[in-house]
């Protein structure tokens, strides 16, 4: 989209102040990212210099024996995250559509407040309920993790999708109604496609949240370091890995755990690149 930006060629003094303030705070925000990245690199530096990469991404993790293979854990993280996003995305979009188009106002308000509340439930509570209610039925498995994590990221997804749909504005909606389209048709053929950009952002933010989630996952996925062979097998995620062992790790073991953090950082990066691609593809398809 293009519109007049706030930095024309010769801005009045006040506008210049605004531009400068925005730049300064933006710089602060971006430098936070750089700082966190540098911190991770510094903590893993000693290990990356000495140990060959294929040893770090092998399949065996036995810190007391000097084996630091992260591959099954990396796959575990990706699997749990993908599963939960696949579960939460359709539900979240359906919920957003429900809130925008189908729900009576009072129901919508209650549901919105409920979702906001759900977004603020500490992950240990999800873990606790998952461990005491779900795990006795399903065991501590990939499936349990996907269900708990899917429920956890649902509010973020639904709320962001909701504001995404709301931001489309009344214009297209009225136009579509004037053409005689039914409410579901307006929702799914006009508003949802128009909000595709914000919906993608919502899914990406929720994926990031799922990838970074720690305590709840740790309490319900079993944490065994092995390839996730089936939905009923236990898995360990990178986050649970860091949380389980960091407090008890020193030297190379500690550095290898920071490497897990770095890998998560890079996974998030891959997600971002993917998001950018999707966003661009969407833009050209529409343009």
């Amino acid at each position: 989209m293009s519109w007049p930006r706030l930095s024309p060629s010769s801005p009045p003094a006040r506008d210049r102040i605004l531009g400068l303030t925005a730049r300064a705070t933006g710089l602060l925000g971006v430098s936070a990212v750089v700082l966190v990245g540098l911190f991770l690199l510094k903590e893993t530096g000693s290990l990356l210099g000495r140990v060959p990469l294929e040893a770090l991404f092998g399949s065996e993790w036995q810190p007391s024996l000097g084996r630091y293979g992260l591959a099954p854990i990396l796959v575990g993280s990706v699997t749990v995250t993908l599963g939960s996003v696949l579960l939460a995305t359709p539900l979240g979009v359906l919920l957003a559509v429900f809130l925008q188009f189908h729900a009576p106002p009072s129901v919508a308000t209650v549901l919105l407040r409920g979702l906001e509340l759900l977004a603020g439930v500490p992950s240990v509570v999800f873990g606790f309920l998952g461990l005491t209610s779900l795990a006795p039925l399903l065991g501590q498995t990939l499936l349990t993790g996907v269900l708990v994590l899917g429920l956890m990221i649902l509010p973020t997804l639904a709320l962001l999708a909701h504001s995404g749909l709301a931001s489309v504005g009344s214009g297209p909606r009225l136009a579509a109604a004037a053409l005689g389209l039914s409410v579901p048709a307006i929702a799914w053929r006009v508003i949802v496609p128009a909000a595709r950009r914000t919906l993608t952002t919502a899914v990406l933010l929720a994926t990031g949240r799922a990838l970074g989630e720690t305590m709840a996952v740790l309490m319900v996925t079993g944490n065994v370091i092995d390839w996730p062979r089936s939905l009923t097998a236990p898995v360990r995620t990178l986050t649970a890995h860091v949380a389980l062992e960091m407090s008890y790790a020193e030297g190379d073991h500690r550095a290898a755990l920071f490497l897990s953090g770095l890998v998560l950082f890079l996974l998030a990066g891959a997600l971002v690149v993917l998001g950018a691609r999707l966003g661009r593809a969407g833009a050209t398809a529409r343009g």
């Binding site: 005491t132 944490n223 389980l244 062992e245 407090s247």
Partner: protein, 269 residues
């Protein structure tokens, strides 16, 4: 006094304005197992010494060691013995923690030998029927790498960490207890005090006899029970001043009572 004052000022400045008079404040960091007990001891110490503040921070044994070495903490907390490479530190044992094997309360198994336990944890045995229990798959619950409990357990069974094959890997005691309570086929090992406490509250777990010795805090106290670990405060060099007073307090009779209420075995004085 005139020479001490600038020195103190310098110390205060170098530590940043956030740290008030170091003579009145003590910082402890380390093991999350020790932290609740240390907090209770700190409350007690503060009430006997008005004006003194003892800040207890959690975060793991290795953090306790690292912070004590770097001078970020006055006293570290660890839930294990000192390692050979940690001879620069001095450990002060304040309590012991026995490690008990637990099964679901519905499991009829009452006692296990170390040999049977080794067979279970290496998957030589995978069904309770093979051990004389009700038929059903054994869910093996193990502790995550680096934990002192794991080290003590493996050392007792003379197993290497890569010989163990688990269905569930847990972190804290309560995680293990809730896991076993939710799975009738599960077996795990946790702090005896925690298991006794939770069993008293009706949580369906049961401690089993190990090699003919009942797993109880009494058996740990008398030294008959084979698997236990110390809970220690550590200092960089011999403790002095406030740190010394706190450690003396933590090893006193009144602190022993606190150790007992926090489900640990008081250190024999």
């Amino acid at each position: 006094m005139t020479r001490l004052l600038p020195c103190l000022l310098l110390v205060a400045l170098s530590l940043g304005c956030s740290r008030p008079d170091p003579d009145l404040r003590l910082i402890l960091t380390g093991s999350s197992t020790v932290a609740p007990l240390a907090t209770e001891i700190a409350h007690h110490f503060e009430s006997e010494n008005p004006g003194i503040r003892v800040d207890v921070q959690s975060g793991g044994s290795s953090r306790g060691v690292a912070d004590t070495r770097r001078g970020l903490a006055d006293i570290g907390m660890i839930s294990r013995d000192l390692l050979p490479e940690e001879t620069d530190l001095i450990a002060h044992v304040i309590a012991r923690d026995g490690i008990g094997v637990i099964v679901h309360a519905d499991n009829p198994i009452q006692r296990l030998s170390s040999t049977q336990l080794r067979a279970i944890y290496t998957r030589a045995v995978t069904d309770w029927a093979e051990l004389g229990g009700a038929p059903g798959r054994i869910t093996v619950v193990n502790k995550a790498a680096g934990r002192a409990t794991l080290a003590v357990f493996l050392e007792h069974l003379q197993l290497r960490p890569d010989e163990v094959s688990a269905d569930v890997v847990i972190g804290e005691n309560e995680h293990g207890i809730k896991t076993v309570a939710g799975d009738p086929g599960a077996i795990g090992y946790v702090s005896i005090g925690a298991a006794e406490h939770d069993r008293g509250l009706g949580i369906p777990v049961r401690l089993v006899e190990l090699d003919g010795v009942t797993a109880s805090r009494t058996a740990v106290a008398t030294g008959r029970y084979p698997m236990s670990r110390p809970l220690c405060l550590v200092t960089h060099g011999p403790p002095a001043g406030l740190a010394r007073r706190f450690i003396d307090h933590a090893r006193s009779e009144s602190a022993h009572e606190l150790a007992a209420t926090q489900s640990f075995v008081p250190a024999s004085s």
